[in-house]
Amino acid sequence: MHESRHAPVALLFNGVWSQYAVATSAKYRPHLDLLHVHDLGVERLRPYRALIIPFQSNHHLIEPQREALLGFLARGLRVAVFGDASAWIGANWADRPVDNYWWAERPHDPPVAWTDFSHPLFDGLGARQAGWHHHGVYLDIPNRARVLQRSRDGEVVTWVTREHGGHLLAATSDPIVEHGIQQIRHLDHFVDRLIEWLGGGRPHPEPMVLVPDQFQHQAIAPSIASSARSFAATSRPTGDIA
C-alpha cells in the first residue's frame, strides 16, 4: 500500500520497536517513513531522497537487494548504514567488545576516540554528540573511502564514499536504535544532523518525546500497514490484546 505523501527519508524497518519508536515520534514523523525490510526494492525506494539502514537490520534480506541499493546511490542519493552491515557496501565488518559504560568508568577516554569534524555530518556537534559507543569496526573499507571516525585502537568506526554516485555512509554506531531506547538522552543532536545531511530537512530542535500512545494498536496499525505491504495484505482486525 503506497501513501500519497512521503517523508524525504526512508528508515529501513526490521520490525524492531526502537526503530518504530523513532520514526513514529511527533518529532521525526515528518522526516522519516518506515520501510519494512520485506518491501525493500527499487520501486519502494523511488520516492525517497535518502535511506537509513539502522543497527539491528535484517542482513539476510538486505544483501539480495544489492542492485536496488547501488542503483539508488547511482541516482546521486544518500544511504547511511549503521551497526553491522552485509557485504554489499564493499567493506568487512568485524565484531569488537561494546564499551557502553565508558562514561561511568572512563569519561575522558571515549570508545570513539577520533572524529573528522571537518565533514559536514558533524557540523555543530561536540565530541560527545558525535560519538558514544560503537558495535565493532570496519576492516578493508573501499579504496577511495574517507575515514570519519576511529576507535581507541585506531580502527575504522565511520567512513563515507561516493564511488557509487551518491554518498554511502557506514558507521558501526547505533543512533536510531539507541535514540529509540532512550537510554542515551543526547542523541537528538546527532540524529537531527544526520537527517539534515541526508537531505531530509531540519527537525525541530526540541528533544524527541516518545509517548505510550505511539504503542497503542490504533496508532501502530496504520504505521506498519503503510510500511509492510505483506502485513497490509494479510492483516485482519484485532483487539488491543490478542
Partner: protein, 208 residues
C-alpha cells in the same frame, strides 16, 4: 532432563547464533523470517529474542497460538509492541529516570526467581542502573506478574491463564543462553536457566 527442542525466531540480526548456541540442554533451530512468512513450529518451545520483528510476528500469531494451544511454551525477550502475544502486550515508557529503577517480586509460583537477586537485573555489571527493561508489560491477568518496577509496571510475566500453554515474557529485558560453563550470576544467567527448567517441567508434565 532430555534436550529441549526450541525454535528461535530469527530476523537476521547479527549475533543470534552466538546467543543461542547448540548445547546439551537445548537444541536451537533458527526460524528465519522471510517475506510472506507463515511458519509452522514443530517445537513446543518458541523463543523471541531481543531485537525481534514484531510486524512479522503479528502475521505469524496464529502459528504461535497453535504452539500455546497444545500446551507449549513461548519465551519473549523483546518489546512486543504489536498484539501477537496472547494476553500480553508491551508499552514503551521512558518517563522515569533509569537511576530510580528497582525491581521487586510480585508473585512467583513457578520459581522463576529462585536464586535470582532482582537487584542483579536492575543494576548492570558496571553499576549502571535500569538497563534491563524498557517500559512495561500490560497483561490481561495481573495475577500472572512475577516482577514489577517501582511504578507497578510489569517487567516479567509468566502467564498460564491466557492459553493452555505457558508464556514467559520480559519487558524487553534481553536474555540469552549462557555459556554452559559459566557460574550462576543471581541475575540474567540464572533467570534464563530457571526459565528453561520451568519450560521443561511444563512440557514434561504432558501439557504439550
Amino acid at each position: 532432563m532430555s534436550q529441549l527442542q526450541a525454535a528461535v525466531v530469527d530476523n537476521g540480526i547479527t549475533g543470534l547464533g552466538d546467543h543461542f548456541a547448540e548445547n546439551p540442554d537445548v537444541h536451537y533451530r533458527f526460524e528465519r523470517v522471510v517475506p510472506g512468512w507463515q511458519p509452522t513450529f514443530d517445537e513446543d518451545l518458541v523463543i523471541v529474542p531481543n531485537g525481534a520483528d514484531h510486524v512479522a510476528l503479528l502475521q505469524a500469531r496464529d502459528a504461535i497460538r497453535v504452539v500455546l494451544d497444545r500446551g507449549g511454551v513461548v519465551m519473549n525477550f523483546c518489546g512486543c509492541f504489536t498484539p501477537w502475544l496472547p494476553g500480553t502486550t508491551w508499552v514503551h515508557d521512558s518517563a522515569h529516570p533509569n537511576r530510580e529503577m528497582r525491581y521487586h517480586v510480585v508473585d512467583d509460583p513457578l520459581g522463576l526467581m529462585h536464586g535470582v537477586d532482582p537487584a542483579r537485573l536492575s543494576t548492570e555489571s558496571h553499576g549502571i542502573r535500569g538497563w534491563w527493561a524498557c517500559g512495561g508489560l500490560v497483561t490481561r491477568y495481573p495475577d500472572q506478574v512475577v516482577l514489577a518496577d517501582p511504578w507497578q509496571r510489569a517487567v516479567l510475566v509468566a502467564d498460564r491463564r491466557s492459553t493452555p500453554g505457558l508464556i514467559m515474557a520480559t519487558a524487553s529485558g534481553p536474555l540469552v543462553h549462557p555459556d554452559p560453563d559459566a557460574a550462576e550470576d543471581q541475575g540474567p544467567r540464572t533467570l534464563y536457566r530457571n526459565m528453561l527448567r520451568v519450560a521443561a517441567r511444563q512440557l514434561e508434565s504432558g501439557h504439550a
